[in-house]
Amino acid sequence: MAESICRALRDGALEGELAPALTIKDSVASPFALQVFSHVLSQLFSSILAGKSQSRGLVVVSFSRSPSFYLDLLKNKGTDIASSNNQIQILDCYSDPLGWKDQLAGSRNFTALSNEVLVSSTAIVFREVKHMDKLYNSIIELGKGLVGGGKIRFSIAIDSVDEMLRHAPVSSVARFLSNLRSHDQISSIFWLLHSDLHEARVTAVLEYLSSIVASLEPSHQLANGQRGDLENFSLIKHNSKKGKFHVRFKKRNGRVRVMSEEVHIELSGINFTSLPSEGAINQGLVPKVQFSLQLSEKERIDKANVVLPFEHQGNGKPIQIYDGRRSLVDGKHERPFAAVENVQTNENCGSGEIIYYRDSDDEMPDSDEDPDDDLDI
């Protein structure tokens, strides 16, 4: 549910907790992560502008697209960038990630390409993507520049962790992300991931580090993954506009909430609708279980209320042993009578009763073979 994701990011982090982190994951079969990312970004930014979110600023770390892409995106969604200059900052790791242009400019007196004036006020070029520590420091600096120091928080959007993983090993990226999550001033953080660019372990690491995992899957699985088949062509066409959106929330109490939606890509943007069929997203964790041998409180009280056959005598009255000979009618009159008089160990006379019918009338009382003589019901 895209709504719940946006809400979770909006609400942000609690004191002493790690900031919520969202991974948006897709694959070639259903490559809509960018649209989802843009949707989440614009939603979060509009709630920041409206003051409805915990965070007061947004830092976008852009690796795979130029900063102007985001500014245009936000402009198209109707937010006014010029007046909201102090609420968004873009760390541009796209133009010159490894500092090559700088080196060229330095050695040949080359004038660097001039950026648009509009962009340069909101975007800062970062040139050392191999050094995660410096990246971390720049992001924190940018954020503090937006919201000031103290307790005010800001959010971070990372366009494509894939690019980060190209330049740095998994453990540094993991450390970078977990340090960001544990920073006091970060309200929420989300990133994009193309899962087929990496080994399974890398995807597992990123899912481990996030508290919400949103994955995009094709509505129809292609048969045998073959793409050139005529039969599959219609499926491919179908998959290029629609997909399934699965979200797993890690809740605070340790439970996992799983949700699903359908996703439609249109020119104007992306639409989320609920799934037509309530398919069970059961992970198949159903074990073989035993029957309950323990009693709940209520059951225990009821059990205690049952007057056992050997209990309600021996209190001064002469002991009578039921021999099963009396007729049922008499027996019925006797029983409640005896129960009411002799119950003293239990305060509440519950509804427990024992009904006993002798097997046959032929047997003599006090027969050695019959152990039921002790019973006085």
Binding site: S171, R255, L293, N315
Partner: protein, 356 residues
């Protein structure tokens, strides 16, 4: 039958009410082993007394749930309350911060039950023919010794400051270490402070192969560290507990599992899973599952075969951690399933990866 005597037969079994000659928090077990409490009374019962001294406990985490932290908290808090030295290491920048979240021992529930009217029957329902033989109850007296060994912890009450600031607590952060030599040295110094059986120590290593640690891709080094730790712990009087996330390659994951003396794993529960709710009683209160894969057996060849290996983790009144067996919910008669087919529930399409 002699009446009004403390024993009704000439045999008397010496239960573990024996004075803890080994020191506080230790209990004798079969085969010459000495037990240490895990901090969770239910888990002690399941494991047959607790964690044996000298064993290595490994907990496989679930990437989606923090239940291993519950186990660690109880373990560490139990050690601090009994005055046992503790070494804690975690990938966080400041591991000391975690000590602030340790729970405090719960107010004893047994105190209330002692005020019962002694004239009343002591909860035993004796047939009237035998009341004259009713001897003295032997149920008292075992409660006190229980508190010297294990406590129930109230997860909502933080542990008192003076326990946390004790001198025998050491914290290590493993995030920035390029390799495991620092951790290895700290463990060695910690374990060398225990002379023969006078005091037992606890080592808690949280999220050992967490991805943010620099050594997390050095799989053979991590394995040799675990082997080293296991041998050090076996020859000293301590218990080490290591939790690790499921981010290892499958062969190494198996190797780590084999290294453990006691192997547990925690699993997350899906929220609002109607089918699970129908199948299990008490689904609403469960926060997760705990699996016991291996129970330590030191000094004996006889394995432990548990009746059930999967337990549900519940928080009673949101305070006390309890482990319960999974119980099948009563089959709804109106829905038409009978006993014959209800067994088919579990064997149909859902292949459980919960092991029984």
């Amino acid at each position: 039958m002699a009446a009004a005597k403390t024993r009704t037969s000439t045999f008397s079994r010496n239960l573990s009410t024996a004075a803890p000659s080994h020191g506080p928090g230790l209990k004798c077990g079969p085969n010459g082993t000495v037990f240490l409490s895990s901090g969770i009374p239910d888990l002690d019962k399941i494991l047959g007394g607790g964690f044996p001294l000298g064993s290595l406990v490994m907990v496989m985490e679930d990437a989606e749930a923090p239940h291993h932290m519950l186990l660690l908290r109880n373990f560490m808090a139990q050690g601090l309350v009994l005055g046992q030295p503790l070494l804690y290491s975690s990938p966080a920048r400041d591991p000391r911060g975690f000590l602030g979240t340790l729970p405090s021992p719960a107010a004893s529930k047994d105190d209330k039950s002692r005020e019962r009217d002694p004239d009343q029957e002591k909860g035993l329902r004796i047939a009237w023919q035998y009341k004259k033989y009713l001897g003295e109850s032997q149920l008292d007296g075992q409660r006190d010794s229980k508190h010297e060994y294990s406590n129930e912890f109230d997860l909502r009450k933080p542990l008192e400051r003076h326990f946390i600031n004790g001198p025998r607590i050491d914290c290590v952060s493993i995030q920035d270490c390029p390799d495991l030599s620092t951790l290895r040295d700290r463990c060695a110094t910690f374990l060398s402070q225990f002379p023969r059986i006078s005091c037992a120590g606890r080592i808690a290593i949280q999220s050992f192969c967490a991805p943010q640690c620099a050594y997390s891709n050095m799989e053979w080094d991590m394995l040799s560290f675990i082997r080293y730790l296991k041998s050090m712990v076996r020859s000293s009087n301590s218990v080490a507990i290591i939790t690790f996330p499921p981010l290892l390659s499958p062969s190494f994951c198996k190797r780590w599992q084999h290294m453990a003396d006691t192997l547990l794993s925690v699993k997350a529960i899906q929220d609002e899973d109607k089918e699970l709710a129908q199948l299990l009683t008490g689904y609403q209160d469960m926060v997760g599952f705990l699996n016991v894969h291996k129970v330590a057996r030191i000094n004996t060849q006889v394995p432990v075969i548990l009746e059930a290996t999967t337990f549900s983790i519940k928080l009673q009144k949101r305070r006390y951690l309890v482990l319960e067996c999974l119980n099948q919910a009563p089959v709804d008669g109106s829905s038409g399933t009978s006993y014959g087919t209800s067994g088919g529930w579990s064997s149909s399409s859902k292949t459980g990866n919960l092991d029984f």
